[in-house]
Subunit: 441 residues, 2 copies
């Protein structure tokens, strides 16, 4: 560090308020000062609002990202072993891709140090899905996590208390001060945790549409570009794939149901859109890690890893290593099941023309599959199975979807809402392409 420059919260707030660009050193002072309490919550709230309205340059955002990452411990995976590549999704409905992808990539020679989050509101969380596996532990210290990644090629854990504590503190503040909607702050929040994973490369799945955090293509592009630019600026080559999230991904929404569906993919089955999303992101990761040069080579490698059973075996080994009942991987029926089922029938014959991801998510949320506050408990058993999806034929009276409920009353209560999520019409409309575009530097 050069000199002994003195910063104050007030001067940094004023500089950002007036549209200035903060020095990297100023940001590297601000973040630990906030964590220690020298900079107060009300000062940080004013600063965050100034950032929401004035923005940050990529240089400032990279400095913020690294300062938040460096507020905690970092995973240390070492050089020995495969390239270290992770995937992060901005979150959608029915998005269980991480559970398919991590063991698949490990089976293809990558190391995947995947630290995931919990669900909040209408989007599910990988941790909640994994916890549907009896005995599976997601709260492991970073040292144990690093060993698991080096032994099994991957590990799936939750954010530890010592991982980017500045992000946790700032995110909680942003959540109650109207300062969530900021591309630079979202970028820094996502990347500060991912860059603590000791990665060689990172792939983003930026979801776009009514079931996603980013509702418009413009917003999604802006976020993707920001993360790609800042991640790469911070030393980790980053690319992004924009994928459509108007309709739930796969045919299940709900924790145990989704985990079972992810295991189907590892066994060579699973719904087309989920398989496509997994393979597209997998190919991106394998190219980013330098394992393959072409998309065709990546596809071949992945299909072989699945067909040979190696991907499923990776998952079994990890579930066992993290304390879970490994039999669930090949026998998903062993996962907890809801005691009550209710089916929703089509009121007319025709084609499913649309299926509203947000409406389906809200049904699952009310059934108990999700939470609206961070401290709420969830029920791993409940959720929705989408028997028909857009583009498919249905006859009047035929089942469109199944509700898995904790009790018969809540199941019946949600039937109308779930039916309303479907649009059935006379003409077949083809589903829109899942992948919208790829963004890289």
């Amino acid at each position: 560090m050069k000199g002994t420059q003195r910063f104050t919260a007030l001067s940094l707030i004023a500089q950002k308020r007036d549209g200035g660009e903060l020095a990297v050193e100023a940001i590297r002072w601000l973040v630990p000062a906030y964590v220690s309490g020298e900079v107060t919550d009300y000062q940080m709230a004013a600063f965050a609002m100034a950032v929401v309205l004035r923005g940050m340059t990529p240089r400032e955002t990279a400095a913020l990202t690294l300062a938040m990452r460096d507020s905690g411990k970092l995973a240390r995976l070492g050089k020995r072993g495969g390239p270290k590549v992770d995937k992060h999704s901005t979150g959608g409905v029915g998005d269980k891709v991480s559970i398919c992808l991590a063991p698949l990539m490990a089976a293809c020679g990558l190391r995947v140090p995947m630290i995931s989050g919990r669900g909040l509101g209408h989007t599910g969380g990988t941790l909640d899905k994994l916890e549907a596996i009896p005995g599976f532990r997601v709260n492991l210290p970073l040292a144990r996590f690093s060993r698991l990644v080096n032994t099994h090629g991957f590990s799936l854990i939750g954010q530890t208390a010592d991982l980017a504590p500045a992000d946790r503190k700032l995110y909680a503040l942003r959540d109650v001060t109207g300062t969530v909607e900021s591309i630079p702050l979202i970028t820094a929040s996502i990347l500060s945790k991912k860059l603590a994973e000791d990665l060689d490369a990172l792939v983003l799945d930026v979801k776009v549409g009514r079931g996603a955090f980013m509702k418009t293509l413009d917003d999604a592009r802006a976020l993707a570009r920001s993360i790609v630019r800042v991640g790469t600026l911070a030393g980790v080559p980053t690319s992004a794939v924009l994928t459509r999230m108007d309709v739930p991904l796969g045919r299940t929404v709900g924790n145990a149901l989704e985990t079972a569906e992810a295991f189907e993919v590892l066994a060579g089955g699973g719904p087309d859109d989920l398989v496509e999303c997994t393979l597209v992101l997998g190919a991106e990761m394998l190219r980013a890690g330098g394992v393959v040069k072409s998309d065709a080579a990546a596809q071949g490698l992945m299909r072989d890893a699945i067909a040979s059973g190696r991907a499923a075996a990776k998952m079994e080994a990890l579930v066992k290593a993290q304390g879970g009942d490994a039999r669930v991987v090949r026998e998903p029926d062993r996962l907890p099941r809801a005691p009550q089922r209710a089916s929703v029938q089509a009121a007319r014959s025709g084609f499913v023309q649309d299926l509203d991801a947000l409406a389906v998510a809200q049904v699952a949320l009310r059934l108990g599959a999700g939470r609206t506050r961070a401290d709420q408990a969830i029920d791993p058993r409940v959720g929705v199975v989408l028997v028909k999806k857009p583009g498919e034929r249905v006859e009047r009276g035929e089942t469109l979807a199944e509700i898995h409920a904790a009790d018969s009353r809540s199941g019946r209560r949600e039937a109308a809402a779930l039916l309303a999520a479907f649009r059935v019409g006379a003409h077949k409309q083809n589903a829109r392409a899942l992948v919208i575009e790829r963004i890289a530097r």
Copy 2:
């Protein structure tokens, strides 16, 4: 109130962040919720920053002003007696006009319920000046204040704890979160206290220049227009006079020195600029209160009130009523005097061409006449007497100014800084006009 609309801090912050106009009811919910702690400091800080960057309409500012006023008690002066008119100054160096003006206006038939502030930084405070009077009490409850105003035609007190507590809480927060610089927030802060005085009309003295809070004419105009508009919208006809504050007002800076100078004006003397400022604002108040129709009538009334001794008698009666030694009004030498004097001599002959108000204020501050933190004690005795002012002739070696100090060392230490505040040159330059313009609806 119509209906039972539910507001949340988060929704109001988001609305302002996105550039929306808040409903009057929303603002009337926000302010008491902040005072009670239901809305937290960090939420209010984010909201204040959104206001700084997005602004507020006059309607929103008026609602904020009234909600802050209504967070505390209001003076109740009743209908019997003269029109109730106050003056507020945005603060300058050597500004003792309130002490001249309040008794003068009372002598002319107005009721002046004047609640003043203390000095902070380079600007002095009327309360500090009044407290130079032995025994004079400025901390009186609102009920006693109201009786004094109705008995004597005026009273001079400080902000009581129950006067606009929302403003006190919000101002303390703005001070540490970089959210002071906002015309709507400054407007609401000033007016919330003034509108608690039960006024018929209000006159603003908006100071402009290097010794003022507003450094540029544009900023001063914007603030004056905002206060005039919002005050009038809130039911109190308000007008403003923009006056120059590049040079100290009068020939004294420092508490007892300034109080003595104000008493000179009441006795028919005093420096020209101070007398002019007093008479201009007094005429504005008399017209606003409907006591006179024309400026000429106002001037006649005021000159008679001074020449007859009625203005000074009003001050004597009030000083006595508020516990002070009333003899100081006619015998200002009874005010506390600094033990040490040091004079500053001109290094060349010529004309005083300029005198930097801010530099003089900083000398006075360092001598102990002011404070940089709200909890600091001040020395009423110390300060500066400006023997020469711009436009006046000085010979080499002649005294330009006198330092009144607590000890000889601090007096000597400030001599060079005080000398540097003067510019002496060969040519006479006329002082610029004190009054810049008048702003009314």
